[in-house]
C-alpha cells in the first residue's frame, strides 16, 4: 500500500512537472526554427528534427522593417512596473501600519471598513474602470505615457501591498512599538527605526506580488497606451495578430517572462520562514 502510494506520488509530481515546463520547452525549441521547420509540423529536437537558426533571437534586436525591437518595450515595462511597485509599497506599508496600530473613525467607518475598502478594490473588474481611466488620462494629457500608466497601476497594486502588510504587521507584537516609544521614539520614529527594519520579509513578499501583478498586466496597458509607450504584453499581442513568424514570437515571449521566473526562487525562500520569532521570548 505504502509503496503503491509512493509510486503514485512520484508519477503525479513527474507528470505535473512535465506539464509546467512543456510550454517553455516548446517556445525554446520553436525560437530556433525557421519557416521550413515550422511548416513541416510539430518538431522538437534541434539538429535531429530540424536545422536550428538564430533569426528568431536576432530579429528582436534589429530595428527597421525586418526586426522587432524588444528593447524599448522592455524598458517601458520595467520602468512602469518598478515605479508603480515602489510607490504602492511605500504608501501601502504606511497605511497598513496605521491601520494595525491606531484607531480611525469617520462617522460609522472604522478600521476594519477602511481595510476592507482597500482590499475590496481587487474585486473591481478592470473593464469597469477602463473607460473612466481612459477619459481621465485624456483629461490629464497622460494617455500613452509612462506617468499615466504608473498612476493606474498604483491603484491596481496598492490594495495588494495594504493586504500583505496588514497581515504582516498583525504578527508584530505591539509591545515592540511601545517599547520604542518608551525608549524615546515618536510614533513615526518608532515605525521607521524599529518596525520598518524588522519588516523586510513582509516587504519582500508584498513587493514580489506588486511586481508580478504590475509586470503581468495587459488590459490597462492595452487600453491606455498606443505607440509612444508600449509594454511587453501589448507588443507581443500586436505581433501575434500580425503575421509574425513563430520563432520571433517565441523568443520574445521567453525574454518577457524570464525576469519574473527568477522571482520564483526568492518567493520560495520567503514562503515558509518564521519572521518575528526573535522579538518576544
Amino acid at each position: 500500500m505504502n509503496k503503491f502510494y509512493h509510486i503514485l506520488k512520484t508519477l503525479f509530481l513527474f507528470g505535473w512537472s512535465l506539464f509546467v515546463v512543456f510550454p517553455f520547452l516548446w517556445a525554446l525549441t520553436t525560437s530556433f526554427k525557421d519557416a521550413n521547420a515550422i511548416t513541416s509540423g510539430a518538431t522538437y529536437i534541434p539538429w535531429v528534427d530540424y536545422e536550428p537558426s538564430t533569426q528568431g533571437w536576432t530579429s528582436l534586436f534589429t530595428t527597421g522593417s525586418q526586426g522587432i525591437n524588444i528593447v524599448g518595450p522592455f524598458i517601458d515595462s520595467a520602468a512602469v512596473t518598478l515605479i508603480a511597485s515602489l510607490v504602492s509599497l511605500a504608501l501601502g506599508t504606511l497605511a497598513a501600519y496605521g491601520l494595525s496600530r491606531f484607531e480611525y473613525r469617520l462617522g460609522f467607518v472604522k478600521n476594519a471598513d477602511i481595510t476592507f475598502f482597500f482590499i475590496s478594490q481587487r474585486i473591481m473588474p478592470p473593464i469597469v474602470l477602463a473607460i473612466p481611466f481612459f477619459l481621465m488620462l485624456k483629461e490629464l494629457g497622460a494617455l500613452d505615457t509612462i506617468f499615466g500608466l504608473v498612476l493606474v497601476y498604483v491603484a491596481l497594486l496598492l490594495p495588494i501591498a495594504v493586504w500583505v502588510m496588514t497581515d504582516f504587521f498583525a504578527g508584530i507584537p505591539k509591545e515592540l512599538d511601545e517599547m520604542a516609544m518608551t525608549d524615546g521614539c515618536s510614533p513615526i520614529g518608532a515605525f521607521f527605526r524599529v518596525i520598518l527594519p524588522n519588516s523586510v520579509p513582509g516587504l519582500v513578499v508584498a513587493g514580489m506580488f506588486c511586481l508580478i501583478f504590475g509586470w503581468n498586466d495587459f488590459f490597462f496597458a492595452f487600453t491606455l497606451t498606443f505607440t509612444e509607450t508600449q509594454l511587453l504584453p501589448v507588443s507581443i499581442v500586436s505581433l501575434n495578430s500580425s503575421v509574425t513568424p513563430w520563432w520571433s514570437l517565441s523568443a520574445f515571449a521567453l525574454i518577457s517572462v524570464a525576469p519574473l521566473a527568477c522571482v520564483a526562487v526568492i518567493v520560495e525562500r520567503y514562503m515558509s520562514r518564521g519572521t518575528m520569532s526573535g522579538a518576544i521570548r
Binding site: 496605521g98 481587487r122 473593464i127 481621465m136 504584453p233 501575434n240
Partner: protein, 288 residues
C-alpha cells in the same frame, strides 16, 4: 498623536479615493447617458441602458459561461494545488527544486503565455495534436470548436493559476501545529483518516481564503480569452469582461457598456459574498 496617525493612513487612502472613486462615480453617471460613437456627451436618458442590459441575452450567456469557467477552473486549481502541496510538504527528493518549478507559471504574463499556448494548440502545426497523434488519437479541433476552445482556456487557466493555490496551501501546511498529528498517530489513524480529520479541517481558513481570492481573479478573466480565442468560435468562450470590452471600447457604446459593467460588478460582489458565506458555513462549521 493625531497628526502622526494620519501621516500613516491618509496618503494611501487619498490616492486610492482619487484614482478609484472618481472613475467609479463617473461610470455611474455615464451609465445614465446615451454616449456612443454618434453622440459623445453626458445627456440623461434615465434607466434605458439598464433596461437594455436585462434584455441582452448575449450578456447573460457570457455571465453563465464565466460562472462555469471560474467554478470548474478554480476547483481544478484547488484540487491539483492541494495535491501538489501535500506531495512536496514532507521531505521529497529535490523538493526545493520542485517547489520553485511549480511556482513559475504564476509569475509569467498570462497574455504572453497565451501566445505560446496558441501555437501549442495549433491544429496542424502545434504539438498538442502531434503528441495525441503518437497515442493514436485523431486531431482535436482545439480552437475551432466550441468545446475545444472552452477546454483550451480551461487548460491554460489551470496551468497558470494552480501554482497560486499551491503557494497558499503549502504555506498553510508548513505552519500547521504538530500536536494534532501526534494525537492522531496515538489514536492509530491512517494517512487517509489523518488527512480528513486533521489536515483538512485545520486548513479550512486557508482554503476559504484561497478559493475566494482565485474566484475573484477568475471572475475578471479576459486576457487569456482575448489572445487564445478572441471569444470564439462565435461567442463560445466570450466572458462578461470581454463582452463589455467589445461593447465599450470596440463598438464605442460608452453609456451602454457603463451600465453593463456596473450590473456585472454588482452581480460579482453579491455572488462572491454569498459564496464566501456558504464556504464559511460549510468548512468552518465542520470544525466547530
Amino acid at each position: 498623536m493625531l497628526s502622526s496617525k494620519h501621516f500613516f493612513l491618509l496618503p494611501a487612502l487619498l490616492t486610492l479615493v482619487a484614482i478609484i472613486l472618481f472613475p467609479l462615480l463617473f461610470t455611474i453617471r455615464v451609465s445614465f447617458s446615451s454616449w456612443d460613437v454618434f453622440q459623445s456627451g453626458l445627456d440623461y436618458i434615465g434607466g434605458k441602458n439598464y433596461g437594455r442590459v436585462f434584455a441582452d441575452e448575449r450578456f447573460w450567456q457570457s455571465l453563465g459561461r464565466l460562472s462555469l469557467l471560474s467554478l470548474i477552473s478554480v476547483s481544478l486549481q484547488y484540487t491539483l494545488g492541494f495535491a501538489l502541496a501535500l506531495a512536496v510538504w514532507k521531505q521529497v527528493r529535490g523538493g526545493r527544486f520542485l517547489r520553485v518549478l511549480f511556482l513559475i507559471p504564476m509569475m509569467t504574463t498570462p497574455v504572453v503565455m497565451s501566445v505560446i499556448w496558441r501555437t501549442v494548440f495549433h491544429e496542424s502545426l502545434g504539438p498538442a495534436n502531434d503528441i495525441l497523434g503518437m497515442f493514436g488519437i485523431g486531431a482535436v479541433p482545439w480552437l475551432s470548436s466550441a468545446t475545444g476552445a472552452f477546454i483550451s482556456v480551461l487548460i491554460v487557466e489551470v496551468w497558470q493559476w494552480t501554482p497560486f493555490m499551491f503557494l497558499l496551501l503549502l504555506a498553510g501546511l508548513v505552519s500547521l501545529p504538530r500536536e494534532p498529528y501526534l494525537a492522531a498517530a496515538i489514536d492509530g489513524a491512517g494517512a487517509w483518516r489523518t488527512f480528513w480529520q486533521v489536515t483538512f479541517p485545520l486548513m479550512a481558513p486557508i482554503t476559504i481564503g484561497a478559493l475566494i481570492i482565485r474566484l475573484i481573479e477568475a471572475s475578471k478573466i479576459m486576457d487569456t480569452v482575448y489572445v487564445l480565442t478572441s471569444g470564439g468560435p462565435g461567442t463560445a468562450t466570450e466572458t462578461s469582461s470581454y463582452y463589455i470590452y467589445i461593447r465599450g471600447l470596440r463598438d464605442f457604446q460608452i453609456g451602454y457598456s457603463a451600465a453593463l459593467s456596473l450590473v456585472y460588478l454588482v452581480i460579482m460582489i453579491v455572488s462572491l459574498t454569498v459564496i464566501a458565506k456558504l464556504l464559511l458555513r460549510l468548512l468552518v462549521g465542520k470544525v466547530g
